[in-house]
Every structure is written in C-alpha cells, then in structure tokens.
Symmetry: C2
Subunit: 365 residues, 2 copies
C-alpha cells in the first residue's frame, strides 16, 4: 500500500518538474528544512518533529543546481527499484547512482555517500514517505518473540512466521515491517523492550513472553528504524509499551529515543516514535529499593555524568519531575547500574523484577 | 551431550582439588598458556591453535592465589548454571561472582569483568570445552537462510525451524548451535558466507538460496562464535564453504578469521575454524575483469594499506601466491572495492557474480 503511494508521489514530483520545464519556468524541488532551528518538540503528540520552515532548490540557481539534479537522480532510481520490485541498501543506491551518472557527465554526480544519504532524507520529508517505501533497506539489529504471527510477502513468496516458535533465537526484526507484511493473531497484554540482547536471551529462556503473554523485543542498543516501526505498529494496536534499560544516561537515552525520537531523527516524526512508552527501569531508586544491588553498582565516568547533565536540559525530559529526580541522583552519587546486575543474586530475578514493576505500576513517564 | 561432558570435567576439576587438599598437597590448576609465544599455525589442520606450553596456578603461591580462587569460583558458578539448566552471559556471570563472593571476603574477588573473561578462556582451554557448554551465552549477530531445518530444544520447549520459511528476515544465528540443537534435512550444495547483511538481504530477496540450493549466512562483519560454529558444523557435513567479502584488508581478514581463526581466538582451535573455506571475492583482479567496477573503486586509506602489508607477513597467508599477488596489488594501486559495488550496474548482478565464480572454480585458497 505504502509502495503504491510512494510511486504516485514520485510520479507527481516528476510531473511537476516536467510541467515547469514546459511552461518555461525554472524547475524546483521543495522540502522541509531539517536543521536544528526547525526541530521542535510536539507537545500534543509527544515527539520531536520538524516545524514548517521550507526550503526550495532551484535548478537554475548555480549553488543549488547540483543538489537539485542529485535529488531528481535519486527519485528516478528509487522509482525504478519500485517498478522492478527489487530492494537495495542506500550503499547499493549510491553505487547505482555513481555508475549510471558517471558516464554521461563531466564530473561524477556523487562523490561521497554522505551526499546521497542527506538527499534521501530530503526526499522522505518532501514527499512524506519513508525510505523503506522506496525499497531502500536499512540496518537490522533487533530481535522479537511472543504471541503473534507475521504474514510476510517478499521476494515472490509468502510465509507465515509464528513468533512463539522461533526457539532460542527469536525472529530478527527486518528492515521494513510495513510493505508486504501483516501482524496476525496478536495475543499479548503488553510489549516489553529490553535494551540488551543478553537479557532478552535470559527472558526468552525463561519463556517470559509465554508466562506473561507479552511480546519481548530487544533493539540491541539504540533501536533500528525497523525496530522502532515494529514497536510503533504494535502500540497502534493499543498494547502498552514498557522499556527496560541500563541505569545510566546512555540506557535512558535509548528509552527517550524510542519514546520521542531524537534530534537527528526528528524528520521521521510520529511514525518512528512511541510517546506512549513507559520506563520500567533500571532506575537510581532501584539501588535503594533492592538491597542486593548496592554492591553491584559501577562508578559513573565523567562522560556518563556529562550526558546526564545534558539530558537534564531537554525540555521534553525535564518537564517530568520523576526524571529530574533520577538525573539529579546520577549527578550527586556518580553511580550507574547495568540491567545485567539484576541477575547477581538469582538468574531468574530479571523476570520477577519486571512483573513486580508492571503490577505495581511502578514506572517513569 | 557437550553439557554432560562439561559437567563431568567440572566435577573432575573439583575432585582433583579436593584430593590434593585431603592429601595435604597445595591445590593447583593447570591450563595451557595463551600468550603469543604459544600460538602456532597448525599446518596439518590449517588453523591457528595453542602449542603445548602449560601454566600452573598454585593456591599457596601468593601471586597466584587470587587467580586460583577466581578460577575455582567460575567453575563453581558455571556448574550451578548447568545443574539449574539456566544460561547467562559472561556479564551475568560476572555479577553473580561479584555478588556471592563479595559477601564473605574482605575484598571483592572480581573487580573488573576483564578478569573473569580471561579466566573463562583459561577454563575452556584447561578443560577442553567451550564456554557455550558451560551455559554462557555470547554475542549474536549473524543471519542464515536456506534448505535445512533446525530442531531446537531450549527453555523446556522443542521447535522445528524451517530455514526456507523465514521470510525477509532469515533466522538469527544463536549463541550456541551445539547443545539441544540438531540440523535436519540439509539439502544444500554449498554454504555461502556473505560479509554484509545488506548483500545478504539482496540475495535473500532474489531467493538465491532456493535457486542455487545453498545456505546463505551473513556474519555481519567479523563472525560471532555462534556463526563460526554453525559454519564449522555445516562444513563437517562435507558442504563446501565459500566466502564473499569486501575487497580490502578488513574484508579479507574476515575470511581469514573464518578460515584459520585469529591470534586472539587461537585457543579455540579447529572447533571454530573452517580451513576448508574458499574465497570467492571480491578480489583486486575483479576490477580488471569486470569493467563496470573500474569507476566504482575507492581510494584505500593509509590504514588499509598498512593492514594489507601486515597480512603479507602472516605465514599462513603468504604461503599462497594468489594472496601475495592480491595483497601486492593493494600496495601498488592503493585501491579497494566494496561488495556493494557489484550492484552498480544491475541490482541482481551479485548472484550472477557468485554463480560464475563457483562454476569456473575461480576462487582463492
């Protein structure tokens, strides 16, 4: 469905440019400014997104001519990927551009991949579509298991994948969870996002997802685009989303990036944010609550403390008094604690910790 | 099966120490030296492994007492993991040690995870077992698809996973492919190892594994322990193993680590090496052979050239004239090329390239 929309939008872009040429007007391409000044926190939705400032690239303006041509070249290539029904990475796109354009031009239109990356973001924003809808694959990292099935149409085949039958491994979260994919028989009470794969493996061995009727996802650190879309789509089915990370600024920022997005990814807006997410832990308060954790804390490094102090400056974080209190504790005690430490006394305690937190609604906003 | 052996060996270790104490002898622990001087290239097998130099840790020698106690503590903990039939990561083990030993001792027995890591390697070598057999999970990264099934017994359940029905994602290679796991109905002509996930996704979309009757695996860069064991076990079924990486010293070294192991992993020996592997490409010679590649090369950085020059010094590499010729081309032309560049002219060319190389037996040793 999205692919169809993407194709129509690419055609529309081509038609507009064509019409301008026919009318004798200079062809142009309008997109939304992605620079810091146009990033805002959308209080209503609860995520970072771009404002309304526009930017126009004009073919006949010398300084913009190259960028304009590059954008058109990318639009043209991805239109062909859609038509051929083939996918590639942005690195593959880069080589396609470098190959086909290098021949007919004095200078190669694309020297660095950085150039094509930025222009893909422009195109996503200008047309209001995702790169995945343009058949561009992205980095994969996350893993999922739990009571649901995936109907997957890809490469001319259709498979139904039961996420309760993936054994010790779980199912790897793909690059694109929208096109040619359906979620079926979702029979979960909630979604649990676990920062580290090691903890995910621990919970998977305990069949936590079966006993608790939940879907467990690990982004393996910062969440990939595919993982964020997967969580977003499940949240759209009214499933609560709980996030469980290390107790330090980096772990907490993984939570915040899932919840509100980040500066760099603000152009993606709500499609890749889950403002409904709640933070289960690990919190600085846990160190006081669970006495066995006291001797398992780690001394925070200067960079950890600096990062915590930066987070204190983000209005979408510091509007929550609970988070200010947690961040202040980091600055004061200069301690941190890993989620792995919850296994210190008993390997299976991780699941008990999560169940207790959810039962007592003991989470941070 | 391995777990049973591991348990017996842990018990044997305990019994030896106990007997020494009863006899009034100082308890000791003997392992194989893992330092550079005891690493050799085994010409017969074709992999890096440890030599015969031993090291003894004596409880009553002041400088060795701490290490001895740490080793016994790790043996004790992993024995409990086996008995409880639960797994954890080495980080989880570290916290278990830190927690349980911290209580009864003046100083904490484990201050840094680095200490426990090195001692786990000691234990693997001393007992001739793998950490996976001690229920320690390791980092996961690789993905696999193709004509085979996995029977997986884990966490009290049994699943049969058909690796032809994993859709766009493939099956994530787990941490342990030995214990509680069987490979069934392997109906492949060969194993193809593809360095980058982006290329694996490309081949998976083309259903390359179906058309070619092969198993495609991406380690996603350097291969994890699980991925290396998976390839080793498939090679033990007499399937040829072909490796396909970037054309630069880093990509080539991914091949060499799969084939012969590396200095750091020499203690693992043949269990994690695949000396039978053959290198399909990308080679420097391909730049001359496939004319479209000429304009898709990248200038090698100083560090690339330096690494190539180092590789030239490894006897297990420089004994092959084909590799010396390739490395010399890097030093001379200072160029490199990514496997992604094969898509420059046509997205589906990657598969054609691989088929042609295999058909013409055009590989490097």
């Amino acid at each position: 469905m999205n692919e169809k929309v993407a194709m129509d939008k690419l055609k529309g872009l081509g038609k507009d440019i064509h019409d301008e040429v026919v009318k004798g007007e200079p062809p142009k391409f309008e997109t939304v400014l992605r620079s810091r000044g146009n990033i805002k926190y959308d209080e209503g939705v609860g995520c970072l997104r771009l404002g309304n400032k526009k930017e126009t690239r004009n073919f006949l303006t010398v300084s913009q001519s190259r960028t304009f041509m590059q954008t058109v070249a990318i639009a043209n290539k991805t239109k062909r990927f859609l038509k051929e029904d083939l996918h590639t990475s942005i690195r593959g796109l880069y080589y396609q551009l470098k190959f086909s354009l290098g021949e007919n031009l004095d200078e190669s239109l694309f020297e660095e991949q950085g150039e094509s990356n930025a222009l893909i973001e422009d195109l996503e924003v200008a047309l209001g579509i995702k790169r995945e809808d343009l058949h561009l694959t992205t980095d994969r990292k996350g893993v999922v298991a739990g009571p649901m099935k995936i109907r997957d149409k890809f490469g001319g085949e259709e498979n139904t994948i039961d996420l309760t039958k993936q054994g010790r491994s779980g199912w790897m979260v793909p690059s694109d969870v929208d096109n040619g994919m359906e979620f079926m028989d979702v029979d979960a009470k909630y979604i649990l996002v676990v920062e580290k794969d090691a903890l995910w493996q621990r919970l998977n061995e305990d069949k936590f997802w079966k006993k608790e009727k939940c879907i467990i996802i690990t982004p393996k650190g910062q969440a990939s685009r595919g993982t964020r879309r997967l969580i977003r789509k499940l949240a759209d089915q009214d499933l609560p989303v709980y996030v469980f990370t290390d107790c330090d600024a980096w772990g907490w920022y993984i939570y915040w990036t899932i919840k509100t997005g980040s500066m760099n990814l603000a152009y993606l807006g709500r499609d890749f944010s889950i403002p409904e997410s709640k933070f289960l832990g690990v919190t600085m308060s846990d160190i006081e609550k669970y006495s066995f954790l006291k001797k398992l804390t780690i001394k925070a490094k200067d960079i950890d403390v600096k990062r915590a102090s930066e987070m204190m400056g983000y209005p979408w974080i510091n509007k929550h008094k609970e988070w200010v209190a947690e961040l202040k504790k980091v600055l004061k005690t200069k301690q941190k604690i890993e989620q792995d430490a919850l296994q210190g006394q008993k390997l299976t305690f991780v699941g008990e910790y999560i169940k207790e937190k959810i039962k007592n609604e003991e989470w941070l906003p």
